[in-house]
C-alpha cells in the first residue's frame, strides 16, 4: 500500500462522464416540475433517461478498458464547489474501474427495473411522480459512485437517502409507509452523521477531502486517527447498507412499491456502504483492528439476517432480511482486505442481479394476488405463473449457490477468503460464513416452496392468480439470465479482480483448508439446508402463527433489536424531548414572549405620540433640535467629553 494514488485526467470521450449524472437529473427535473402535463409520457422519459445513461456508461466503460492499467482512470474537475478558507472542494468526477462497475450495475439493472415499473405502476395515479423520484435516485446514486472526493460522495449519499425516503413513503396515505419512511430517515441520520464527522476528520487532519490526497496522506496518520476515521466511515456504511446495529430500517423499507425495493433496497443503494469501504480501502487496509471490526459486523449481520429471515412470513420481508444478510457477506469481503475487495464487488454485482430478479418476481406474484404478501397464503403458484416461477427459480438457485449459477461463483470465494484470514479468526469467520450459506439455503427454499409449490392456500379474493404482462416478465427474464451467468462471467479468468486491481490492489490466498474442500463443504451445507426446508414445507404450513420456542420467537421479533432500540433510545429520547419542550415553553419562551410583549407595549405607548397634529410634530422636532444643539454645545464646553 506504499504506492501513491494518482488519477489520470479525463480525455476524449471520457470527459463527457458528467452526462451520466446530468441525463437522469434533467429527466427528474422535467418529471417533477412539469406536473400533470407530463402524466401521459413521463414514465417513458424516465425509462429512456436511464437507458441512455446505461448506453453511455457502456461506451465509457469500453473506453476505460482501452487504457493501460497504470492510467485506467479519468478524473474530471468541473468547478469549485466550496472554497472557504483552507477548504477547497471540487465539483469533480472520477471514472475508474470501481465506479465503472457500479455505473453499469446501477444503470443496467436500473433500466430493467424502470421498464418493469412501467407495468407495475400502470394503475397508480402517482406514476409520473414515482418515475421522477426514481430518476432522481439514479442521478444521485451515480453522483455517489462518480464523485472524486468525499464531499461529492456525501452529496450523492444524501441524494439517494432523500430519494429513498420519498419512495419508501411513496404511498404516504398508508400509516405504515409513512412510519417506515420516518424510521429509515432517523436510522440513516445516525449513520450519515458518522460519515459527516469522518469527512470533517479528514479535512482536519489531512486538509483535503479529495480521494487522491486522502489516500496518499492516510499512511502518515497515527493508528488511532485511522481507527476513529474508519469506524466513523463504517458507521455511515452500516447505516446506508442496513448492517448491525443500524439494520432495523431496511426490512420496514419494503413498504414502498416493489420496484423501489428491488432497485434501491436490494440492488444498488444499500450497497453504497460496500462501495464506501471498497473506495476507502487505503484507509481500511491501514489498520488491522479496523478490518477486524468490519469483518465482525459483516459476519454478525449475515447470521442475524439469516436467522430472522427464516422466521418471517411476508415475501418481501424475507427477501429484505436476505438482503441484509447478503450485504453482510459483502462487508465480510471488504473487511478481509486485499483481493477480497474484488470478491465482495463480484458478489455485489451478482447479488444485484439475482436479488432484483427475486424482488421483481415477488412483485409479480403480488401483482397477480391482489397485493397479498403472506407466503402462508400462496402455494402452487408454479402452475399459474410459469415465467415468474421459472425466473424466480433462477434467483433462488443463484442465491443458495448452486453451480453453475452466479451465487456459487461469488459467495464461495468469499467463504474461502474468510478461511484464509491468517490467524485463529479464520476459523471463526469462515465457519460463520459457512453456517450462513446453510441457513440461506434453508430460508430461501422455504420461501420458494411455500410460494410456488405445495397446496394452494389462497384467501377468498385470490381465487384466480394470473401471470403478469410482458412488460413485467421480460425484465424478469433478462435479470434471470443475469442471475445465471453473471457470477461465471465476472470471475472467469479473474476478470473482475484484474479489472479492479488498479483500485484495490492484489491479495494473497492461503486458506486453512484446501479450496476444493471448502467448496464441497459449502455445497453440502447448502444442499442440506435446502433439503431440510423442502422436507418441512413441501406440504404447506400452518395459516396462523404457531407458538414456538425461544429462538424462533426471538427471530420473529427481529432478535429483539427493535425492542432494544425502543427501550434504550426511543423512550429516553421521548422523555428528553418532553423535558426540553417543558423547559422551552416555560423558560425560553417566557423570556422571548416577555420581550415581545415589552416591545409591543412600548410600541403602543410611543405610538400615541404620533398624534397627527402638525403642532405636536413641530414641538417634537424642536425638542430634538434643542437636544442635538445642546449635546454639541455640551461637548464643546467639555461637559460630556
Amino acid at each position: 500500500m506504499e504506492q501513491t494514488v494518482e488519477y489520470a485526467h479525463a480525455t476524449g470521450a471520457l470527459s463527457g462522464i458528467w452526462l451520466l449524472v446530468a441525463i437522469p437529473l434533467a429527466s427528474a427535473a422535467v418529471l417533477l416540475l412539469l406536473g400533470k402535463r407530463a402524466d401521459k409520457w413521463g414514465h417513458w422519459l424516465g425509462v429512456l433517461a436511464v437507458a441512455a445513461s446505461f448506453v453511455l456508461g457502456l461506451v465509457f466503460f469500453i473506453q476505460l478498458g482501452g487504457l493501460d492499467a497504470e492510467h485506467r482512470s479519468a478524473e474530471l474537475s468541473m468547478w469549485d464547489f466550496i472554497t472557504v478558507g483552507n477548504l477547497h472542494v471540487d465539483f469533480g468526477l472520477l471514472f475508474d474501474p470501481l465506479s465503472g462497475v457500479f455505473v453499469l450495475l446501477i444503470t443496467g439493472v436500473g433500466s430493467l427495473i424502470h421498464l418493469y415499473a412501467v407495468g407495475y405502476m400502470e394503475h397508480d395515479p402517482g406514476r409520473r411522480r414515482f418515475f421522477g423520484y426514481f430518476n432522481l435516485f439514479v442521478a444521485a446514486m451515480l453522483l455517489l459512485v462518480l464523485g472524486n472526493n468525499y464531499v461529492m460522495l456525501y452529496f450523492g449519499w444524501e441524494g439517494v437517502g432523500l430519494a429513498s425516503y420519498l419512495l419508501i413513503s411513496f404511498w404516504y396515505g398508508r400509516p405504515a409507509a409513512a412510519t417506515a419512511g420516518k424510521k429509515a430517515f432517523l436510522m440513516n441520520r445516525v449513520g450519515d452523521t458518522g460519515l459527516a464527522i469522518g469527512i470533517f476528520i479528514m479535512f482536519a487532519t489531512l486538509g483535503s477531502t479529495q480521494y487522491s490526497d486522502v489516500f496518499n496522506g492516510v499512511t502518515a496518520l497515527s493508528g488511532t486517527t485511522v481507527l476513529v476515521l474508519g469506524l466513523l466511515l463504517l458507521l455511515g456504511a452500516a447505516g446506508k447498507s442496513g448492517q448491525f446495529p443500524l439494520q432495523a430500517w431496511l426490512p420496514d423499507a419494503m413498504e414502498g412499491p416493489t420496484p423501489v425495493s428491488a432497485l434501491i433496497h436490494a440492488a444498488t443503494m444499500v450497497t453504497a456502504g460496500v462501495y464506501l469501504i471498497a473506495r476507502s480501502n487505503h484507509i481500511f487496509s491501514a489498520n488491522h483492528t479496523l478490518q477486524t471490526v468490519v469483518v465482525s459486523v459483516g459476519a454478525f449481520t449475515l447470521l442475524m439476517g439469516c436467522i430472522i429471515g427464516s422466521a418471517k412470513d411476508g415475501i418481501k420481508r424475507v427477501l429484505a432480511w436476505s438482503t441484509v444478510s447478503q450485504i453482510g457477506y459483502m462487508f465480510l469481503g471488504v473487511g478481509l482486505g486485499g483481493g477480497a475487495y474484488a470478491l465482495a464487488i463480484i458478489h455485489l454485482v451478482a447479488h444485484g442481479f439475482f436479488k432484483a430478479n427475486m424482488f421483481l418476481g415477488a412483485g409479480s406474484v403480488m401483482h397477480g394476488m391482489h397485493d397479498e404478501e403472506d407466503i402462508r397464503r400462496f402455494g402452487g403458484l408454479s402452475k399459474h405463473m410459469r415465467w415468474t416461477w421459472l425466473t424466480f427459480m433462477m434467483g433462488w438457485l443463484a442465491i443458495i449457490g448452486i453451480p453453475p449459477l452466479s451465487g456459487f461463483f461469488s459467495k464461495d470465494p468469499i467463504i474461502e477468503a474468510a478461511y484464509a484470514r491468517g490467524d485463529w479468526t479464520s476459523w471463526l469467520f469462515g465457519t460463520a460464513a459457512l453456517l450462513g450459506a446453510g441457513l440461506t439455503a434453508f430460508y430461501m427454499t422455504r420461501l420458494f416452496v411455500l410460494t410456488f409449490h405445495g397446496p394452494e392456500r389462497y384467501t377468498e379474493q385470490n381465487k384466480h392468480p394470473h401471470e403478469s404482462p410482458f412488460i413485467m416478465t421480460v425484465p424478469l427474464m433478462l435479470l434471470a439470465l443475469g442471475s445465471i451467468v453473471a457470477g461465471f462471467l465476472l470471475s472467469r479468468h479473474s476478470a473482475i479482480p484484474q479489472w479492479l486491481e488498479p483500485v484495490t490492489g492484489e491479495g494473497e490466498h492461503d486458506p486453512v483448508m484446501p479450496p476444493a474442500v471448502i467448496s464441497i463443504l459449502v455445497l453440502v451445507v447448502s444442499v442440506a439446508g435446502a433439503g431440510l426446508a423442502w422436507a418441512l414445507f413441501r406440504k404447506g404450513t400452518a395459516l396462523q402463527e404457531q407458538p414456538a420456542g425461544a429462538v424462533v420467537t426471538a427471530a420473529r421479533r427481529n432478535l429483539y433489536t427493535d425492542a432494544f432500540n425502543e427501550a434504550v433510545f426511543e423512550r429516553p429520547g421521548i422523555y428528553l424531548t418532553r423535558a426540553l419542550v417543558y423547559l422551552d415553553n416555560r423558560g425560553i419562551d417566557g423570556i422571548v414572549n416577555g420581550i415581545a410583549a415589552g416591545v409591543g407595549g412600548s410600541s403602543g405607548r410611543i405610538r400615541r405620540l404620533q398624534t397627527g397634529f402638525v403642532r405636536s410634530y413641530a414641538l417634537s422636532m424642536l425638542t430634538g433640535a434643542v437636544l442635538v444643539v445642546g449635546a454639541f454645545l455640551a461637548i464643546q464646553l467639555g461637559w460630556l467629553a
Binding site: 409591543g600 422636532m621 433640535a625 464643546q636
Partner: protein
Amino acid sequence: MGDLKLPDIDYGALMPMLILFGAACVGILVEALVPRRSRHGVQLGLSFLAVVASFVAVIVAHGTRKITIGGAVAVDGPTLFLQGSILALGAVSLMLIGERSLERGGPFVSQAAVTVGSQKDVRQAGDQPGATEVYPLTLFALGGMLLFVSANDLLTMFVALEVFSLPLYLLCALARRRRLLSQEAALKYFLLGSYASAFFLFGVALIYGYAGGISLGAVHDAVANPQRSEILLYGGLALVAIGLLFKAALAPFHVWTPDVYQGAPTPITALMAACTKVAAFGALLRVLYVSFEGVRWDFQPVLGTVAVLTMLVGAVLAVTQTDMKRLLAYSSVANAGYLLVGALALNKEGLSSTMFYLVAYGFSVLAAFGIITLVRDADGEATHLSRWAGLGRKSPLFAMAFSFILLAFAGIPLTSGFTSKFAVFGAAVEGGQTWLVIFGVISSMLIAFPYLRVVVLLWLNEPGETTPTVSIPGFMTAAALTIGVLATFLLGVVPAPLIDLSQDAAQFIR
C-alpha cells in the same frame, strides 16, 4: 467698477442637471401648448427621454473630478454615483407614476375642490388622462436632487433643497383617492419642511460666521485652523445636520414620515422613499465627510445617538402598525438609521457601503410600493393590513414577490437587504463604531417581526370576504416590479460589481 469675472463653467459635468431642468421647462410648455388628449403620452415620453439622456450624461462624465461654476458644484465620484442612482431609481418611479391602466384617469388629480365620486369627478376622470403636471414636477424634483448631492457650498445646497422639496410638496397633494388625507399630508410636509429649512439656513448663517465662507472646502479649512468661537461651529453643524436629518427621516425629525407616506399618492411615496433618501444621504455624506471630518470625534457620538434612536423608534413603532404604507414608512425610518450607521463609519468603506445600501434599498422599496398600488378594491388601494390576509391564496405571484421584498427588508441572505446591511455594519465596525452595529442588529431583529407577520398574514391566513384582488398590472408597473425584484435578488446574489463601482467612486473632492 471692477470687471465682472465670469466663473468657469464645465457644461459637460453639469449636463445631467441641465438636461433635467431643460426637459422640465419644456414640460411646462407642453402643458400649455399640446392638446389635452395627447399630453400624457408626450409628457411621459419626454420625461423618460430626459432621465435616460441625463443618465447617459452621467456615464459620459464618469471619472470627472472637478469643482466648477464658481465653486458651487463639485462633480466627483460620489456625485456621479449618487446622481446615477437617483436617475435609475427615478426612472423606475416614473414607471409607477406613468401607470394609467389601474384606474380611470390615473392616480393623480389636480382639482382639489371636486368631490370624489361626483358627476363632475367621473366626467373629468373620463375626459382627462390625469394630472400631467406631475411629469415636469417630478423632473424638477429629480433635477433638484442631482444638484443637492453635488452642491459644494451650503447655499447652493439650500437652493437645491428647496428646488426638490417644493415639487414634492405639490406632488403629495395630488392623490385621486382620499384627497383630504393627501392634501393634509402635503400641508404637513410643507410646514414641517419649511421649519426644517429654517434650521438649515440658520445653521448656514452660523457656519458662515465661523468660517467666513460657505463653500465646504472653506469650512474644512476653518475647522482645521480655528479662528473664532467654536460655539458658532457646533451650533451651525447641529442646525445644518438637523435640516438634513429631517429630509432623511431620522428620529426625532421623522415625525412627518408616516403621515406623508400614507397620504401621498403611492407612486410619489415610492419616489420619496427611494430618491429623496438618496439625495438627503448624499448631501449628509458630503457635508460630514468634506467639511466636518476634522471634528468627527465630536459629532460621531451625537449623530450615533440619533442613529440608535432612529433604528429603535422605526423598529418598535413598525410593530403595531396596521396600515401597509405606514408600516413601510417606519421601515424607511429604521433603514435611515442603518444608513446613518454606515455614514458614521467615516471611512472609505463607510461611504461606499452607504451608497450601495441606498441603491439596494431604493429598488426594494420601489417594488414594495409598486405592489401596494396593485392591491385594490372599489375604493382604491386597500392598504389596511387586515385586508391583505390570505392574499397568497388568491394571487400567489404577487404575494411571493411581496414576501421576497419583505425578506429583503428583514435582511435575509440571498437578498440585497442582507448584502447591504452586511456592508454598512462591516464598515461601521471597521470605523470603530461597534456599539452602533450592536443596536443595528437588535433593531434588525425587532423589525423582522412586523415583516414576517405580514408574510404570515399573506400565506397562512384564510382569505376573507374582504380580501381585495390584485389588479393586473399595466406594462409600466409590471416593468417597475420586475426591475425592483430582480435588482433585489441580483444585488443579493452577485453584489460585487456594484460594490466595486461604489468603492471606485468613494472619493470626495474638496
